[in-house]
């Protein structure tokens, strides 16, 4: 059965300029047949609006600034404000301590990916949670 491609929106919140990680993930998701849109820097509000407009399945962001908890909270707050909290699978990646993983999940992140993540695991996670495999 043909299904529509999984659409993923990726962005960097804030000012931090460590781009390598998220661009690598973006490329890997594209290679896996997903439609990956990398926004570069974007405000959380802008991202939520774009996610609604573009009808994406997944929102992911990358933090190397140590402000991962703050950004996760802000994203969830904004989704709630717009009344679309349950509409997207939420992913966060980057450099942060393992002991924060549970806190990130508690805040509302579905997938938490620290340093050393294999991109295949992110692909598998998205497919499993969305319950579908895209056909390229």
């Amino acid at each position: 059965m043909m299904e529509k491609k999984i659409r993923v929106l990726l962005f960097k919140p804030g000012l931090d300029g460590h781009w390598r990680g998220i661009m690598t993930v973006s490329k890997a998701l594209s290679e896996a047949g997903m439609e990956s849109i990398f926004f570069g820097f974007k405000t959380v509000e802008g991202v939520v609006e774009a996610a609604i407009q573009e009808d994406v399945d997944v929102i992911g962001f990358s933090v190397h600034s140590g402000a991962h908890l703050e950004w996760a909270q802000e994203l969830v707050r904004m989704l709630e404000e717009k009344g679309v909290r349950g509409d997207f699978l939420l992913l966060v990646g980057g450099v942060f301590p393992e002991e924060d993983h549970n806190e990130l999940r508690r805040i509302g992140m579905d997938g938490v990916f620290g340093p050393g993540t294999v991109t295949g695991d992110i692909v598998a996670f998205i497919r499993e949670k969305l319950g579908r495999v895209e056909v390229g």
């Binding site: 804030g14 000012l15 300029g17 926004f39 570069g40 600034s65 450099v95 942060f96 301590p97």
Partner: protein, 560 residues
């Protein structure tokens, strides 16, 4: 006298040896360096054929400087232990610096937070900036921040590196000079470095709201012009071409140095275009290189880089000052080689990389702490990183002799090979119009993204081994207790700015900002007015807002 074998005899011997081992299997089909240079099983005098000792290797402190830029190297003076450090607030950073000083650090280096890097104040409503105050480094938003950072530190006797890029280099450097002035020092006395690297801001670490490459180049050259050509701070290194930051993106040793040389040429040519003579400034240009995974290739890289800089100067610019031919560099061990898994292994990685830098003749060195793939380093971790350098200095004997790798058939051969490949890569950038053009077209970033995507594939396929990640994995590891930055940092810094805005002469600041606008429009050197601004208490965000307003923000060519 004993008769020495000639090359023909060695060649025959080598062939015989190869035949004799024909039936011995090797563990891989082929071997190559990190940069993809094929590695033979054995190097002999045949591989250094044509390398002339006097012309190609020479003596330390003499052309072509392959063996080192100074005649005595570490026998005269050990390299500077310079730890890149900063967190929370300027006061906390000051405490950390004092601790490092007591532990034997001999130079300081300020790691700034993402706001300082991007030139944003915490009370500007930009992109939720306040979340990131003090998290990645020290917040330096005004002269008061810089003053608190260096309080009671012997800045007249120790050099300080300000790791900020062209967007904020004039502001932060002038804050530092103005603090020194308040302490009764003249800026002529100050030794130190501003990183001031355009490629860091455009392909390495690309902060929010970066300026266009040509405007960044202008700002970078303004600082070189002011400090060196105009003689305002003659002992200051007004730029440090930070090839380390591009290397961290995944490129190889050839690309690292090739991009570095092309970057330097862009600045030199811009200053010549402004009417300065090469001898007015070129002796103060410095570099900051990576120490990466491939041990021998990195050592050969440092040797090749020195030689190439000499060649560039001699063939193209011909300065009279002999110092201009010396390729001086700081080294940072490769952060991207560290893992969050089994972090103690990072101590071992860092020690080998530090040894590369020392065998390669660096002038100063930062060693990463073992927890840096997780968070900013704890005190214990950073102390151990300092000790790693002290073991090299005090216990190993490696600093007792100059360039001990010279004469190694392998290292000499690799030095020559790298030299050729780097020069070719550098020429390729030159032919497309130099780094500014290569940035505008997105070519340089394309090189970066090709490299980091390849590394990802190589690591995931296991072609590039990473211990703890794709081999020798340990299940059920205990998480490493992380270092946490001050959660009140944003409030503290906002208060610091509020006090400053209340106490300063706002009218004067306003007038000076108008003046800066005119200077930017006329594309004159920003340093004189920025110096006045920071002395009068203008904030970083106020200054960079003028740049952004006049010149506009760069639309990155690689983000669709």
């Amino acid at each position: 006298m004993k008769r020495m074998a000639d090359l023909e005899e060695i060649r025959r011997g080598y062939e015989d040896w190869r035949k004799a081992k024909e039936n011995w299997a090797e563990r891989r089909e082929s071997f190559h360096t990190d940069a993809g240079i094929p590695v033979k099983d054995l190097y002999t005098p045949l591989d250094t054929e044509g390398i002339d000792y006097l012309e190609d290797i020479g003596f330390p402190g003499q052309p072509p400087y392959t063996r080192g830029v100074y005649p005595t190297m570490y026998r005269g003076r050990l390299w500077t232990i310079r730890m890149f450090s900063g967190h929370g607030t300027p006061e906390e950073t000051n405490q950390r610096w004092k601790m490092l000083y007591e532990e034997g650090e001999t130079g300081f280096s300020a790691a700034v937070d993402s706001l300082t890097f991007a030139g944003v104040d915490p009370d500007q409503e930009v992109h939720g900036a306040a979340h990131e105050v003090g998290k990645e480094g020290v917040p330096l938003y005004s002269i008061r921040g810089v003053e608190a950072m260096v309080e009671n530190l012997p800045i007249d006797r120790m050099s300080v590196a300000l790791v900020v890029e062209p967007l904020t280099s004039a502001a932060i450097t002038s804050m530092y000079f103005n603090v020194a002035k308040k302490r009764g020092l003249r800026k002529e006395q100050l030794a130190g470095t501003t990183q001031n690297d355009i490629l860091t801001m455009t392909i390495g670490y690309i902060p929010w709201g970066s300026l266009k490459p040509a405007d960044l180049l202008k700002l970078a050259c303004d600082l070189i012009e002011y400090c060196t050509a105009m003689g305002e701070a003659p002992r200051w290194n007004p730029i440090n071409f930070t090839t380390y930051n591009y290397r961290e993106g995944g490129i190889d040793a050839v690309q690292e140095i090739g991009m570095g040389l092309a970057n330097a040429v862009a600045h030199i040519d811009e200053l010549l275009r402004r009417g300065w003579k090469i001898d007015d400034f070129v002796h103060r240009l410095a570099f900051h290189l990576s120490a990466h995974r491939d041990f021998f290739e990195e050592i050969a890289k440092y040797r090749a880089a020195r030689k190439l800089w000499y060649r560039l100067m001699k063939e193209r610019y011909r300065p009279e000052n002999p110092d201009a031919y010396r390729f001086r560099f700081h080294v940072q061990t490769a952060g991207c080689s560290l893992t969050a898994q089994q972090p103690m292994v990072n101590i071992v990685r860092t020690a080998y990389q530090a040894l590369e830098a020392v065998l390669g003749g660096c002038q100063s060195l930062h060693t990463n702490s073992f927890d840096e793939a997780i968070c900013l380093p704890t005190e214990d971790a950073v102390r151990l990183a300092v000790r790693t350098q002290e073991v090299l200095q005090e216990e190993t004997g490696v600093a007792n002799v100059i360039d001990p790798m010279a004469g190694s058939y392998y290292v000499e051969s690799l030095t020559r090979e790298l030299e050729e490949r780097i020069w070719e890569y550098f020429q390729q950038i030159e032919e497309m119009g130099g780094v500014v053009e290569a940035l505008n077209t997105g070519w340089l970033f394309g090189e970066m993204s090709k490299a980091f995507n390849k590394r990802r594939r190589d690591q995931e396929s296991g072609d590039e081994k990473v211990i703890g990640v794709n081999c020798y994995v340990l299940e059920g590891e205990e998480p490493t207790p992380p270092f946490r930055t001050n959660p009140r940092a944003a409030d503290i810094e906002r208060e610091r700015l509020q006090d400053l805005r209340r106490e300063r002469d706002n009218q004067k600041v306003g007038k000076l900002l108008d003046q800066l606008r005119k200077v930017c429009e006329a594309r004159e050197n920003v340093l004189p007015v920025v110096s006045e601004l920071t002395a009068a208490g203008a904030t970083l965000g106020e200054i960079t807002s003028v740049y952004r307003e006049v010149w506009g923000i760069w639309q990155l060519p690689f983000v669709a």
